[in-house]
Amino acid sequence: MLAGFMKQGDTALNARLYRALYRIRRVEEEIARVYPTDKIKSPVHLSIGQEGVAVGACEALEPHDVVFGSYRGHAMYLAKGGDLRRMIAELYGKVDGCARGKGGSMHLVDVARGVMGTSAVVATTIPNAVGYAYAIKLRRERRVVVSFLGDGATEEGVFHESLNFAALKKLPILFVCENNRYAIHTHQRQRQATEDICGRVRTHGMPTERIEQNDVLALHGAARRFVGAMREGAGPAFIECMTYRWLEHVGPGEDFALGFREREEASSWKAGDPVKALGDKMDPATRAQIDREVEAEIAAAVDFAESSAFPSVEELHRHVYR
């Protein structure tokens, strides 16, 4: 998996990717650790195992670019630069949360950093991302939009409606499909007559690329190419990233005991874990330094959330209308 990277020899990129991956992994692990204490007042859909998709794609973006995603959105929020302290506070239901405690884990948002929101209803933000891209094109800006979606979302009608409109209007939008094979507990082959998602997408008139085995560097390369072309006026593109969800659909534990998938299936994905693989290739001192900084940042974010207040009673009725 790392052959491309080693040839490239880009230690700065490696360090950035490692930091982003390790940071998300450790945030998710910390959430899983705290979860049983009931301090987190929101269902969590953890990104452990899938961090590379958000990291590889967002590393190709500029701060003024924007992303839209799904309820499994912690990785996207953090990879795009969303404020970690406000994310943890949001999970704790505190007023300093990114949505003032009124959105929770499934509705993370940080508009200043280009995180435009996530939705609990599958595929819902796909057309929102397309509309945003229309505005960018109308205003002749050089920004781009990334729409993160799951393999299940490709079965929704609005997915195809959105691809058609994006291609019709040649909008600057990159669709990134995180294919972890499972819609909750149901495998892709039980849901789709053919598994060729990219083939279906190409009929809408946009280029596609499929990234195998959670390959962060290959994804990053493809995202850079597509995004670069979009800034010069090329239309939309689609990347399917094969990845794997290590934990249960919602919550902090594993779900192998349910019997819908074998622990064995996870082993190859865990063996190729990009967090470990990229970390092992790093200079140990640099890695230790990154790890220390990440741990300190997470500890500070948890402290921030713990010490923040719950919203006051008048917050119930605030923000219904502007």
């Binding site: 508009v111 929101g117 057309p127 929102n128 945003y132 109308l138 609005v158 058609n164 209308y321």
Partner: protein
């Protein structure tokens, strides 16, 4: 604002759109067929030529995605107007309206809002049938975060559309096709008819009749039938259904002691149910008015004229119901149809 200039409902909508697009380059107009030769019954005529195909465009037949795109455009700082030639088609976009547009501001802690206008048209008569005739605005009244307006006059159509476009929140703008034939005074200069204020269209003392959307026209005709038999009806147009001006309706009902709400939809969980319960909650410490609702028959809308005419309330049945409220009990009075108060029917062909 007084004026001698008379405009049709169609031209009032077209003029409001034109003025808002000229005033604010963030305003966009799109939907199925907004740019075709028929131009949504004339309401979007000439706007492509004036503002170009990037700001005015017909869309693929993708109501769900285009509503979602409208939300995304609003998040990006634009002010989209999305047009549906049938309100029935809006059902394809419920997820985006209910789960996203209505909740954007709240769910994202005030970081964003969703200034979006959804225009949709209710059909009636000449066999439009079950899926071309529904007044489904009560669905949207139910959801916090959405505003709903159903103007009945050309004046309100223009002023409410301007107010809707300038509003920071998603607004469902409901038009009734039969109202398109109405003409009335409309000032040329831009103005707003702001959310949350009903209008007493005709003052009266014996009974309050609230008519929603097209039923306002029928209520005004009913007032004339009642006047001829010495019953004084006060007719109120709520104009905005969310936020609803309960105060104006409750004050009138308290004065007349009788309240008849006539809806252009079904009664169960409908706008008439909401108006009645809101009025009763407001008046519960005083003498409660006698009350009644009239609405669509509790059936899908049939196409054959012999059944369709039974499906809708009309001026004569409204007058009869108001008469019974005033006189007490069923009196069996139904006015003879007057030529000057006949229903305007859409004759077709489409």
């Amino acid at each position: 604002m007084s004026t001698d200039r008379a405009l049709s409902f169609v031209d009032a909508i077209r003029e409001a759109t034109d003025q808002e697009m000229a005033r604010d380059e963030r305003v966009l107009l799109f939907g199925l067929d907004v740019d075709d030769p028929k131009a949504i019954l004339g309401t979007t005529k000439g706007l492509v030529e004036r503002y170009g195909r990037e700001r005015v465009f017909g869309t693929p037949l993708s109501e769900d995605a285009m509503t979602g795109a409208a939300v995304g455009m609003a998040l990006a700082g634009l002010r989209p107007i999305h047009v549906h030639i049938r309100m029935d088609f809006v059902m394809l976009a419920m997820n985006q309206l209910v789960n996203m547009a209505a909740k954007t501001h709240y769910m994202f802690g005030g970081q964003e809002s969703c200034p979006l206008v959804v225009r949709s048209i209710i059909g009636k008569s000449w066999g439009q049938g079950a899926q071309h005739s529904q007044g489904l605005y009560s669905f949207f009244m139910h959801v916090p975060g959405l505003k709903v307006v159903a103007p009945s006059t050309p004046y309100d159509a223009k002023g409410c559309l301007a107010a809707a476009v300038r509003d920071e929140n998603p607004v469902m703008f409901v038009e009734h096709r039969i109202l398109y034939y109405q003409r009335g005074p409309v000032p040329e200069a831009s103005y707003e008819v702001k959310p949350g204020k009903a209008r007493v269209a005709i003052p009266g003392s014996d009974v309050t009749i609230v008519g929603i959307s097209y039923m306002q026209v029928e209520a005004l005709r009913a007032q004339r039938y009642l006047e001829a038999v010495g019953v004084s009806a006060e007719v109120i147009d709520p104009i905005w259904l969310a936020p609803l001006d309960v105060d104006t309706i409750a004050a009138s009902a308290a004065k007349t002691g009788r309240l008849l709400v006539v809806d252009n939809g079904w009664s169960t969980c409908g706008a008439s149910a909401e108006i009645l319960s809101a009025v009763y909650e407001k008046l519960q410490d005083s003498r409660l008015p006698k009350a009644r609702r009239m609405a669509f028959a509790p059936t899908p809308c049939p196409t054959t004229p012999s059944l369709e005419k039974l499906f809708y309330p009309n001026a004569r049945t409204i007058a009869a119901a108001a008469y019974d409220l005033v006189k007490g009990g069923p009196r069996g009075w139904l006015p003879e149809e007057r030529a000057d108060l006949k229903d305007i029917e859409f004759k077709g062909p489409l």
